[in-house]
């Protein structure tokens, strides 16, 4: 039964990673941009949840407001900065987004200080389901998993079944050809970037009540997301899902079984996958 709880935690963590990694992999795959600041958007989300929950008194109001703010932030950054880097080497993307991390971290410290904060779990979900006589599982964690799954399904439908998704896929497989055929690529890129930022921020917002809100939280998760994207294959949403669950479960079980080496476990997993498949599990080309 102990293991069931660990596996549930691993799945929940994996699904959360998926929300982050799917945005990252879309931005890599479609725009060709490596975005180190993705972890900062997760942090921005968590602090938005903190601030808006204090302001409005409810996480349910904070969530939609926060997503709107994140979309606006993403669109603004794409328009002002990221847009200038499409034609440039990855090196410049790495450095510019590295600069953004410093800016976001310091602004966070300026506005909220360096303390660890907590966001209360909404009362409606603040109870546990009993599994056995002694063990129970918090409903809020199940809620996180459910929301992540719903978003994954929505993303799948949008990308597979809608006209917008068709344009995104066209941009992914051949940018120039799509543009020649009349797809407004700059607009698609702005949309993809804003979507990625919103997904990362949303992940930060719903995770805030369980993970608490603390300085440097974005950096920690960013590298794990990179591992997810590399294992899954850049640009592949399916790959991101499989890899995120794999990493989520490996990391959670690693912490229980080999606490000293759990930090390294995910990187070892990545090394093994790369020896076997240098372009990830689900890379199409």
């Amino acid at each position: 039964m102990d293991y069931l709880i660990q596996i549930l935690n691993g799945v929940q963590y994996g699904l959360l990673l998926f929300l982050l990694a799917s945005g990252l992999t879309l931005i890599f795959g479609i725009m060709g941009v490596i975005n180190l600041a993705h972890g900062s958007f997760y942090m921005v989300g968590a602090y938005l949840a903190l601030w808006l929950t204090r302001l409005t008194g409810s996480l349910w109001l904070a969530l939609p407001l926060g997503v709107l703010a994140a979309v606006a932030l993403g669109a603004l950054l794409e328009w002002a900065l990221i847009r200038r880097l499409y034609a440039r080497d990855h090196l410049y993307q790495v450095l510019l987004t590295f600069g953004l991390i410093l800016v976001f971290e310091e602004l966070r410290s300026l506005l909220f200080g360096n303390d660890v904060h907590g966001v209360p779990i909404p009362p409606a979900l603040n109870f546990s389901i009993p599994l056995t006589e002694t063990l129970s599982y918090p409903v809020y964690r199940l809620f996180i998993s459910g929301v992540c799954l719903a978003l994954a399904a929505a993303m799948y439908l949008v990308i597979r079944k809608t006209r917008l998704g068709m344009m995104v896929r066209a941009g992914n497989s051949n940018r120039e050809m799509a543009q020649v055929l009349g797809v407004d690529i700059p607009l698609v890129f702005t949309f993809v970037f804003a979507l990625g930022v919103a997904l990362a921020a949303f992940a930060g917002m719903i995770a805030a009540p369980v993970s608490s809100v603390f300085p440097g939280m974005g950096n920690q998760i960013l590298i794990i997301c990179f591992v997810v994207v590399v294992i899954g294959g850049i640009g592949s949403i399916t790959g991101a899902m499989v890899a995120a669950l794999l990493i989520g479960i490996a990391d959670t079980l690693g912490k229980v079984l080999l606490p000293q080496f759990s930090g390294m476990a995910v990187y070892l997993l990545m090394a093994v996958v790369l020896i076997w498949r240098p372009r990830g599990l689900f890379q199409a080309t």
Partner: protein, 329 residues
């Protein structure tokens, strides 16, 4: 073109002479600051070999820097000096072996994958030292006494002395510069540049691209290790932060700021970056924002990427070319 090349050469010699004479005039504070900058210059030059010349953007160079620093820390006896003659070659050999092992894996990938995989391996090392008790965990370990250069009773250079240490670092920086220059001018180095320009073509000419890349990767890792060893000597302290990817990002930024693919650009970048960082943390200039120097630094980095993508040395070269043209006309 030739005039500007000559100008650059004179500027390099002038800079070297200034650095050689500096201890005669400077205070201890600036002596130590310059020592730190020269160590970072070695670090940035090592990265230039793979990023600037071979075209492999690595975001994990801090792994080799930090690993060599840890090797010194672990090899140093408590309260006594380790011998530099043993620990330096030992640390460099271990770092070379590490970069060979990592290089064999990461060089199978390219582009964005390469960036992320180098990063992930550096992160793996970070957790190795952070989570296990191997090197004092997250608290790090102290090196109480700097290594000694003594050979029996003969001990001409005392590294505990700031000036002596300064000259050792200065000599090693010059050595690293001359070594890398020779490497780049050699047939091996020419192939590296060709790989940067067009790897497929190089391969079709019959070169084993992978082996050349691996050679460059190991040499760069080893030189980064030299910088890490010296840095551990200087500060007498290592902790996992020197392995973190922030450190890799900072050294990459130094390289971009100075200008890639030039070697002396890496040196200029190290100077400019650390001096700007010191400037931003001056309370006299920035008041309360001095404590928030990371904010100014972040904005500075964004602006350099957007406005000065070819670095300061390109600016100097263009000015030099302009001056030469005016003198000729």
């Amino acid at each position: 073109m030739q005039d500007s090349d000559r100008l650059i050469r004179w500027l390099i010699v002038l800079g070297a002479v200034c650095l050689a004479l500096f201890p005669l005039a400077g205070s201890t504070f600036y002596l130590q600051l310059l020592t730190k900058i020269m160590i970072m210059a070695i670090f940035a030059m090592s990265l230039d070999l793979i990023v600037g010349y071979t075209g492999l953007v690595s975001l994990g160079q801090s792994a080799y820097f930090g690993f060599a620093a840890y090797m010194l820390a672990l090899a140093s006896p408590k309260g006594a000096a380790a011998s530099l003659w043993l620990t330096l070659p030992g640390a460099l050999a271990a770092t070379a072996a590490l970069s060979l092992a990592i290089g064999l894996l990461v060089l199978r990938t390219a582009g964005i994958y390469f960036i992320m995989v180098t990063l992930a391996f550096a992160q793996m090392l970070y957790y190795l030292f952070h989570d296990t008790g191997l090197g004092g965990g997250s608290d790090g370990i102290y090196i109480h006494v700097r290594p000694s250069l003594a050979l029996g009773d003969f001990n001409p250079v005392n590294l505990a002395d700031h000036t002596h240490f300064y000259y050792l670092v200065f000599a090693l920086m010059l050595g690293a510069y001359l070594l890398l220059r020779a490497v780049i001018a050699s047939p091996f180095g020419r192939v590296l540049v060709a790989i940067r320009e067009n790897p497929v073509r190089v391969r079709s000419l019959g070169f084993q691209v992978f082996n050349y890349k691996l050679g460059a990767f190991v040499l760069a890792g080893t030189l980064a290790g030299l910088a890490g060893y010296l840095s551990a000597c200087q500060f007498g302290f290592v902790n996992p932060e020197i392995l973190s990817w922030h450190y890799s990002g900072i050294v990459l930024m130094m390289l971009l700021l100075g200008g890639m693919g030039r070697l002396y650009g890496a040196v200029i970048g190290a100077f400019a970056f650390i001096l700007v960082q010191e400037l931003f943390s001056l309370e006299a200039l920035f008041g309360d924002f001095a404590r928030r120097w990371q904010l100014s630094m972040g904005v500075f980095i964004v602006l350099v990427v957007l406005l000065l993508p070819r670095g300061l040395s390109d600016l100097v070269e263009r000015l030099g070319r302009g001056a030469a043209k005016r003198a000729a006309g």
